[in-house]
């Protein structure tokens, strides 16, 4: 598990309370609109995302920057992806 402090992001996907696999589907769409080098923030309350998103990044050649707990919302996480291509 790769942890980071709060990371500046160029776009954000709020997946809190939204069912699996929205934590993969919506970021896949949003990252298409980013430029190479830009960062997408993903907000989620779904534990499975902590494994799924790094695995998705590895499979699709994107950089998983890391994750941190959401200090504003108990039980939620922020994950960061940098677009590489």
């Amino acid at each position: 598990m790769k942890f980071v402090e709060q990371c500046p992001a160029d776009a954000s996907a709020d997946l809190i309370y939204r069912v699996c696999p929205m934590h993969l589907l919506e970021p896949m769409e949003l990252i298409k609109d980013l430029k190479t080098g830009q960062v997408l923030e993903i907000l989620t309350d779904y534990d499975g995302a902590l494994e799924d998103i790094p695995a998705w990044c590895a499979k699709h050649g994107q950089e998983f920057v890391g994750l941190c707990e959401d200090t504003e919302q108990e039980g939620c996480y922020k994950l960061y992806i940098r677009k590489l291509h």
Binding site: V19, M22, E26
Partner: protein
């Protein structure tokens, strides 16, 4: 016998154009919108077109519309969904005391099962919520306010922009049940200042069994129907595609026709109100005299029971309502009329007429011909009324 149907707040016939749009989606266009093959993808495209039409009716973006199974489900999703999503901030919500049961009972559910406290705001004699009273009811623990756009029982339209300003200042989202107003009154969620808005198909002369909820971008909801990723993961369950197509077509027609429709309904309504108040002694007009739904006329008639009056009129082919279907079936006094301060015995004489574009001047004439005689006949059976007419105390 010619039927005069004046209970459009209760149910509306599906317009032929709407039915025509729906029919292919029961048969040849039956695909599941979640399917990846063409048959499903084409249906998904059609669903998204309807989402845009519903959004346009209320001045929103398509991505902020969730389709539901009814207006009641939309109200439940708004109230339970937002309160549960925000419960870390507090466990207090405010609703007006004259809301539909799908709002009142959703609030009571949160009290009973989730340790919330609900404030049921009183209204004035016209059924309006006072913004100052709302401001006083807000607490640091308040996470949602829900106040209807208009009442289908008394027709009164709330001053939502002023109420929304109070909520905005406190940082509390405002939900409104617009089931009675959508398609009859112009709606722009930005101008009204609301964060959530419910509507349904039947109110738009569309099908029953379909509703929609608008939610402000960024507002989180806990799903209330747990399932798949339909509605972007906010409401599970395979979509009611024919219903969605019908709602979209009805919303499109309503948006095009709204100005003319409102004017024609108001004309019929005003003639009925003037006639009833002139022809029937000892009747009060309930709700706000001006800030009300264009095709809505509601009265309380002294010395009779509304149910008996409905029965008498129905024998002449005139179909109206007493207001709240739930309260009337249980022969209970309407809580909405009680909230206006109307005496319980007078509230028993409630009768509500609601028009649509299908009604004509002859329908008003029929009511004005039959109603005074029906009221007089019922009163002649009433010992209380006879005593009163003879000069005794009622």
């Amino acid at each position: 016998m010619h039927i005069v149907y004046l209970d459009h707040a209760g149910a509306t016939p599906v317009r032929p154009e709407v039915l025509e749009a729906m029919l292919p989606y029961f048969s040849e266009k039956f695909g599941n919108p979640s399917a990846v093959y063409d048959l499903g993808a084409a249906v998904k495209d059609a669903v998204e077109e309807q989402r845009a039409k519903v959004a346009a009716l209320v001045g929103a973006e398509a991505k902020n519309i969730i389709f539901t199974s009814s207006g009641a489900e939309a109200n439940n999703l708004a109230i339970k969904g937002v309160c549960l999503a925000r419960q870390q901030k507090g466990r207090h919500l405010i609703v007006s005391g004259i809301e539909h049961h799908s709002v009142l009972n959703a609030a009571r559910y949160l009290e009973k099962f989730h340790d919330f406290e609900a404030t049921f705001l009183p209204v004035d004699k016209y059924g309006r919520v006072d913004p100052e009273r709302l401001a006083k009811a807000l607490t640091p623990a308040t996470v949602l306010v829900s106040i209807q756009h208009a009442s289908n029982e008394i027709g009164t339209i709330q001053d939502l922009p002023r109420l929304a300003a109070v909520c905005r200042q406190a940082g509390v989202p405002l939900h409104t049940d617009a089931i009675a107003t959508a398609g009859l009154v112009p709606i722009d969620v930005q101008a009204l200042g609301v964060d959530l808005l419910s509507l349904n198909g039947s109110g738009l002369s569309g099908p029953k069994g379909i509703g929609a909820l608008y939610f402000r971008p960024g507002l989180r909801l806990v799903p209330q129907i747990h399932g798949g990723i339909q509605e972007d993961g906010r409401r599970g369950g395979t979509e009611n595609v024919p219903g969605i197509i019908g709602l979209g077509r009805a919303a499109e027609l309503a948006r095009q026709e709204l100005p003319q429709r409102a004017a024609s309904l108001q004309k019929l309504r005003d003639r009925l109100v003037t006639g009833v108040l002139t022809e029937v002694p000892e009747v009060i007009y309930t709700g706000h005299p001006e800030q009300r739904l264009p095709g809505h006329a509601s009265f309380c008639v002294e010395g009779i029971e509304g149910e008996a009056l409905l029965f008498m009129l129905s024998r002449q082919g005139i179909y109206a309502n007493t207001g709240s279907a739930c309260a009337s079936k249980a022969l209970k006094t309407s809580p909405v009329l009680c909230a206006l301060g109307i005496r319980p015995d007078l509230a028993q004489g409630s009768i509500v007429f609601t028009f649509s574009s299908s009604n004509r001047e002859e329908d008003v004439s029929a009511v004005l011909r039959e109603l005074p005689a029906a009221v007089a006949k019922l009163r002649s059976f009433s010992p209380v009324w006879r005593k009163r007419a003879a000069g005794g105390a009622a």
